[in-house]
Symmetry: none
Subunit: 201 residues, 4 copies
Amino acid sequence: MGGMGGTDGTKQRRRGNTRQRIQDVALELFAEQGYEKTSLREIAERLDVTKAALYYHFKTKEEIIVSLFEDLTKPIEELIAWGREQPNTLETKRELLRRYGVALTEAEPLFRFMQENQATVRDLSIGMMFKNRMKGMREIVIDPDADLVDQVRCISALFTMHAGMFVFQELAGDPEDKREAVLEVAIDLITQAHGGARKSS
Amino acid sequence: MGGMGGTDGTKQRRRGNTRQRIQDVALELFAEQGYEKTSLREIAERLDVTKAALYYHFKTKEEIIVSLFEDLTKPIEELIAWGREQPNTLETKRELLRRYGVALTEAEPLFRFMQENQATVRDLSIGMMFKNRMKGMREIVIDPDADLVDQVRCISALFTMHAGMFVFQELAGDPEDKREAVLEVAIDLITQAHGGARKSS
Amino acid sequence: MGGMGGTDGTKQRRRGNTRQRIQDVALELFAEQGYEKTSLREIAERLDVTKAALYYHFKTKEEIIVSLFEDLTKPIEELIAWGREQPNTLETKRELLRRYGVALTEAEPLFRFMQENQATVRDLSIGMMFKNRMKGMREIVIDPDADLVDQVRCISALFTMHAGMFVFQELAGDPEDKREAVLEVAIDLITQAHGGARKSS
Amino acid sequence: MGGMGGTDGTKQRRRGNTRQRIQDVALELFAEQGYEKTSLREIAERLDVTKAALYYHFKTKEEIIVSLFEDLTKPIEELIAWGREQPNTLETKRELLRRYGVALTEAEPLFRFMQENQATVRDLSIGMMFKNRMKGMREIVIDPDADLVDQVRCISALFTMHAGMFVFQELAGDPEDKREAVLEVAIDLITQAHGGARKSS
DNA sequence: CATGAATGAGCTTTCATTCAT
DNA sequence: TATGAATGAAAGCTCATTCAT
């Protein structure tokens, strides 16, 4: 322990990482308590800086969540771009879901936040961006000529992954196993939607 | 000049139904804007009464949402009670989902609210109640000895219904058709979980 | 001595006059320190109420000054209406100035405030109203066909009255005498503008 | 690539004139929006420097306006000094007003600012200086033994010039003509105050 | 059954200013 | 000469809640 000060109560400061630290703490609190119930005072206190310091790094409270969204959902954006370029096959869709699972896991707190604060997110500027991302995923996964039930299956697949990541946490079992199970169900759903037989379980 | 007033521009007193009207307006606003972003002032203004009047009918803001929850989820509570008494068969589960769909539809704004404000709901007193209801549903639908993937299928079925009710609203198509499609996918999922073959689409 | 309490430190309250008291104190402070340098905290403290109480009576800080303006400038509005209906004679204009002097004197603190905070007033909503009032006065007093110098004389007359009311306060002499002198100079100016000979002094 | 930089998009350093540029921008903004509504952030942004840079050149915000006042009102100070040395004749006063008009015109934005922000100016340190300058002008122009009306005429003359410069801008007409008209009215006023006949218009 | 008036705590945001580098 | 990072104080405003009437 030691090295970079702070062990003696001295305020360690001016280590260009404040912006990052704000994002980290903010995400933690947003995910835990929700966006509106997290006040800037709270964030500032936890970082041992003043509220005004936050405003040096972000113009508004909203900008904090926007920056988090932009930073953390880049992989998903890239995934959608990748998906659009692939041939429209079942295997593409399966791979998409696999990668989606990884992306969701990596930015888990953000996605849990989005899940649990949809009403809030909706009228923040990230609402639109999020909606567009979801639309992008749907467009890759759904065949618009398929019958309605199969379309629902595809959306259900996305949902299963989405919600699954977080809800299943509460249940017992090895997280890795659960993640795989969720993925399998999701893949199964799009496979069925594609007219394929489902894997015998 | 008789009847129930209001013909002359006088403030129409709708007798004893103020409590009801508060609930109606509150639910509408909660569903539309979220719980914290809906202020009592707003509710009061829309009803053309004062904030203080709300406090005659409800001790706190939270009591309003609690009363809504209690009133509107009674059917679900009863459904769970019903489910527990039935033999633990696939057909029971199918029927449970069918009835669940009806119940969700009938209290749609409340459930949309719950969906979109999970973070908020979580630390309101209804959080626990809601969680317990969900647990009740799961216990009926899931076979604890089944393999993990099948358990996930069951939860996914519940989720599909849950989210489906609201998300699919945005998509084109006859609402009734969509509701049926969602139900079919959900039933299909628990059927598979039960080891059965899926309905050929 | 007493009657209405408050002499013993008891908070005297709920005497429907709070709104009025807010206006009084606010005007006093606005006139003394300017609009932006007067904070709502200051007003509230001087009234021994909380800031929130102010917001019960006025929706915004701006609404306070607007209400003052509307209440206190009604006489001027009426004066302009009166002026428009009179025959366009020199005597009308003279009488207008006489009455204007009275009106200005009666709402003196407001007009001093307007004089000394023009930049502020300009981008409050009262800016427009004030401008329009001034335009109204000009239209009655100025003959648009007169030569430029005479037009300036008329505006100068208005200005003299306006500023005179407040600037001359600083100078020695009986206030009543000064007011009369100002009025005389103003009347003299529009008389000259009318082509008349000036009163021998 | 020579000269003073800036040809390649690099931040152009205009050598030692930053102080001057701060003054220019500050005056522009102060005149446009008022002193308190103009923040240092705004000034800095418009100059594309940081707020801290302003503090290298000026110790406080107030120092900026003080420096502007001192720099720009030197001609008026000199004018007063000149006036005091002249014989106390009508012609002196006329000439004083003529020169005053020129001085006001040359530092127009500053004087408009002073006019429109009297409340602010009053409790800045320039308040006193300004008051003293005005007193100086009055002492030259007013004959303390004249009757009150004539004294008012003199002050009115000063006011007419002062306010006239800015208010008349809004009105139609050639600026130069208006300036002359204003000057003529002002001179007329002091002429009358001196007991002289007014110029037939 | 409801209102009028008020409060206390809190919020997001802005500002002038400081100082080590 | 200037910047990057931060602060302390205060601002305007909103909210859930209370209570005498």
